[in-house]
């Protein structure tokens, strides 16, 4: 049965789009049929992170308004045949999205895919509420930083009250994904620890993505980090998180960068 998963956070810049692309690619590599849907109308970026920016013809709003068919707007990834993108509109304004329109697209996608990953815009406005509206599960992307944790808490409250599932008295299954984690800084007490964040948010952990240059490198070339450098620490962490989404039990470790001696010394000074 298809699962609708919203990747959300409240706060901007914490890694929603990166995580949507990476989890989508990791699930597709596990033989799941995946579509990633960009809900950030006016500020789309999932196409860019996936390297499909020059292939966008029709978008989510064209489909909502009946200008294009869903099949015309879906873009198949060039590297993974199981991964598809439904881009957001770059020009229309976000009010063009309606609850009914989004509902009918999601219902249609449910018949065609195993996973529907909705990349939420930042904030708590229309785009964000529509991205979570039909979700069965949610990944709350959180940085170990006070403003991000506060916004995550707010979003968790919305997932428990403003989704179709919540209104039916059911629960959206929620997971926290901690990104940009620096275990050295956390161990020195300079950064909120995993335990602190989980205790405050009272939500189970999906994975810990370490702070890494590989994430930027992957988005620079338009490739999900899980494909661009599969051996890198963030890629391994995203694959582990995807396996947990599939119901596997995977030991929770913070994948470490493999650093040389010089890097270690320099890293110590820079930290």
């Amino acid at each position: 049965m298809a699962k609708v998963l919203v990747v959300t956070s409240g706060k901007g810049g914490v890694g929603k789009t990166t995580s949507t692309a990476a989890l989508g690619a990791a699930l597709a590599q596990m033989e799941e049929k995946v579509v990633v849907v960009d809900f950030d109308v006016g500020l789309r970026n999932l196409d860019l992170v996936l390297g499909a920016e020059r292939r966008v013809v029709f978008d989510l709003i064209n489909v909502v308004q009946g200008v294009a068919k869903l099949s015309q707007a879906l873009i198949r990834d060039k590297r993974l045949e199981n991964l598809w993108l439904l881009p957001a509109s770059q020009t229309r304004d976000k009010d063009a999205l309606t609850e009914e329109g989004v509902g009918s697209i999601i219902a249609d996608l449910r018949t065609k895919f195993d996973w529907i990953l909705c990349d939420s815009p930042a904030g708590i406005e229309r785009g964000a509420t529509l991205a979570m509206r039909y979700a069965d599960e949610a990944v709350i992307v959180t940085n170990p930083e006070v403003s991000s944790v506060r916004d995550s808490d707010r979003i968790i409250g919305m997932l428990d009250s403003k989704t179709v599932k919540a209104e039916r008295g059911e629960r959206v299954e929620k997971h926290v994904l901690i990104t940009r984690y620096d275990s050295a800084r956390a161990s020195r007490g300079e950064m909120l620890s995993i335990e602190d964040i989980l205790e405050i948010l009272a939500t189970p952990l999906l994975g810990i993505i370490p702070e890494s240059q590989d994430v930027l490198r992957a988005s620079n070339v338009g490739c999900p980090v899980t494909l661009n450098n599969a051996a890198s620490a963030p890629a391994r962490a995203y694959v582990d998180a995807a396996r947990r989404l599939m119901g596997e039990t995977v030991a929770m470790v913070v994948p470490a960068e493999r650093k040389g001696l010089m890097n270690r010394l320099l890293g110590w000074r820079a930290a």
Binding site: R150, R154, G189, L192, D196
Partner: protein
């Protein structure tokens, strides 16, 4: 000399401060959640009632709530244009 001291200063861990601040703040914010916007509601209703008798500038109606430990105070500040008694008389 200052720079040397700075190099060797003992950094105090700031994460426990972050955790404590968040716990206090979120306990408060979660309590407010789910409730309708009480102040917005009060402001709209007060404005509606007073406007029945006096012509008001909606921007000059300020409703404030101060939370104390045992009691909270509700402060309503309405600026009424001069000569409103006449409009009451006219209406009455």
């Amino acid at each position: 000399m200052m720079n040397l001291l700075w190099l060797f200063r003992v950094r105090t861990a700031s994460a426990p401060v972050a955790r404590e601040r968040l716990q206090i703040l979120l306990a408060h914010e979660r309590g407010l959640r789910g409730q309708p916007d009480l102040l917005g509601l009060l402001r709209a209703e007060i404005l509606a009632v007073v406007s029945r008798h006096v012509v008001l500038d909606p921007k000059k109606v300020i409703v404030k709530m101060d939370r104390g430990k045992t009691v909270s105070t509700l402060e309503v500040d309405i600026e009424v244009p001069n000569g409103f008694e006449r409009s009451i008389a006219a209406a009455g």
